[in-house]
């Protein structure tokens, strides 16, 4: 099976909105020796961009967007990021973004979507989560700048 096939499979896994399927396919790609940065750029992030476009065109709903974003997020955190740091690789980035929901606010769905789509478009998004104090934003910005 060529690399194209596994990338298609990754895109389709994202479009299935099934986190387990995204995890399994990511594991499969890693076991085939595919570079984790390529798994992101040519697979998962590409899948998210397709979901984003379909949402924009009214073919998919907000729930699909959130489900896809969370599935990709899980594969990143649990499988790809550890692998990337182990190999001391770096994903090419259009810029670094620090994002979070401000202190006093726990509504993070919108923020998660923005972070996921920024990531899908090639930015390095540092998501601080919800109810984040100003100091944390400043410290993180200084740290990654």
């Amino acid at each position: 099976m060529g690399q194209e096939a596994i990338f298609d499979e990754l895109v389709n896994a994202v479009l299935s909105f099934d986190a387990d399927k995204v995890m399994d396919t990511t594991r499969k790609a890693l076991s085939q020796g595919i570079d984790p940065v390529s798994i992101i750029d040519d697979g998962l992030a590409k899948g998210l961009r397709v979901v984003g476009k379909k949402f924009e065109d009214g073919e998919l709903f907000l729930m699909h967007l959130v489900a896809a974003a969370e599935a990709v997020q899980r594969a990143l955190k649990e499988l790809l990021e550890p692998e990337i740091s182990k190999r001391k690789e770096k994903r090419e980035s259009l810029g670094r973004i620090v994002i979070g929901t401000v202190a006093g606010d726990i509504h993070d769905i919108g923020k998660n979507i923005v972070a996921a789509l920024l990531f899908a478009s090639g930015f390095e998004a540092h998501d601080l989560g919800k109810d984040v104090p100003v100091e944390e934003f400043v410290n993180k910005a200084k740290e990654v700048d």
Binding site: G58, F61, L62, M63, I106, I109, G110
Partner: protein
């Protein structure tokens, strides 16, 4: 937070009607209760004659926040409150109306428990709401059929199960104008609320999913509510209304216009529109071909110009202003 105190001051000074509104957190609640006590003549009087009801909202799904400390203050004062959880289908609650109802009911039982632990005499108005989030815009849709179902059927059923009075929506729409969409949605949710027998119904004249308050839509809602009330009244069937004797007396090919029975029942059997037009197209054209939206606007302007509510006594007015002023100072110190 002081905005709520200013809003309450305006409300107290400009309406003779009971008020149902929010004052988040313990401090605002204390101050608002102080204002209300001042108006009615003390805390005991307020308990006997509560001129206001607290509207508070738990954080769906299944959480309290510090704003809900207002429940504690109202329970202590024995003034009614109602909690409005807004579980949105597939977002802050399960995708199904019943599932969202479970979330809503759980939150409300928690607020009831809290209030009754503080004061077992706390008057409460129950809600069980399930609302749809439009999956395209992510806005809560006030004009959706599921909104009407989720806030009336579930609500009225559960309230009657618990033997509590209920509270919900009617007269609201997603449309940005008081147009045909608004009319259809308002009629739908008002009718559902009415037919389900919900006790307290709010949000009349709300457009754009609760983002716009429209005075002319409120005037139109008044008309729609009149029609709904008539439908809720139903068809009375008894010897008097069956009118067999009258039919026999008039006989075939006669008329009923001058019958005593007709005049006796005329004004109670029919709903008389005050806004909607039933004239012929000729009469309507002669009167300037007005759209009901224009008529509603004219009527709203007339009411605003001519209606003056009974004002509070000057000394009470001054005391309310003083409470707000002192609270502002106190809050500034805390910053």
């Amino acid at each position: 937070m002081t905005e709520y105190l200013h809003e309450f001051e305006v409300l107290f000074n400009n309406t003779e009607k009971p008020i149902l509104y929010s004052c988040p957190g313990a401090y605002a609640a204390q101050k608002v209760l102080e204002m209300a006590s001042t108006i009615v003549g003390g805390k005991d009087e307020l308990r006997k004659r509560p001129i206001l009801t607290l509207y508070t909202e738990t954080v769906t799904p299944l959480a309290f926040s510090s704003t809900n400390e207002n429940i504690i203050e109202f329970a202590k004062a024995e003034v009614p409150f109602t909690n409005g959880p807004v579980p949105m289908l597939g977002a802050s609650a399960p995708m199904t109306l019943s599932g969202a109802g479970v979330v809503s009911n759980s939150e409300n039982l928690a607020t009831l428990t809290l209030s009754q632990l503080i004061n077992p005499h706390t008057p409460v108005i129950y809600t069980c709401w399930a609302t749809p989030m439009d999956p395209v815009t992510s806005r809560c849709s006030f004009g959706a059929p599921e909104f009407a179902l989720g806030t009336s059927v579930l609500n009225a059923t559960m309230a009657s199960y618990y033997g509590l009075p209920s509270y919900e929506f009617g007269g609201c729409s997603d449309s940005k104008l008081p147009d045909a969409q608004a009319g259809a949605e308002v009629m739908m949710n008002s009718m559902m609320a009415g037919l389900c027998g919900v006790n307290l119904i709010h949000d009349c004249g709300y457009l754009a999913g609760g983002s716009i308050g429209s005075i002319e839509m409120a005037v139109t809602c008044n008309e729609i509510i009149g029609m709904v009330s008539r439908i809720v009244k139903g068809v009375e069937v008894n010897d008097e209304t069956l009118a067999v004797d009258v039919i026999r007396a008039v006989g075939p090919e006669g008329h009923f216009m001058s019958q005593k029975h007709t005049l006796k029942h005329l004004e109670t059997e029919l709903f008389f529109p005050k806004l909607f037009d039933r004239t012929s197209e000729v009469t309507w054209a002669k009167a300037g071909k007005k759209d009901v939206r224009d008529i509603a606007k004219e009527k709203a302007k007339k009411i605003l110009k001519e209606h003056f509510p009974e004002t509070l006594p000057k000394d009470v007015e001054r005391q309310l202003a003083q409470i707000v002023k002192d609270a502002e100072k106190e809050l500034l110190k805390k910053i």
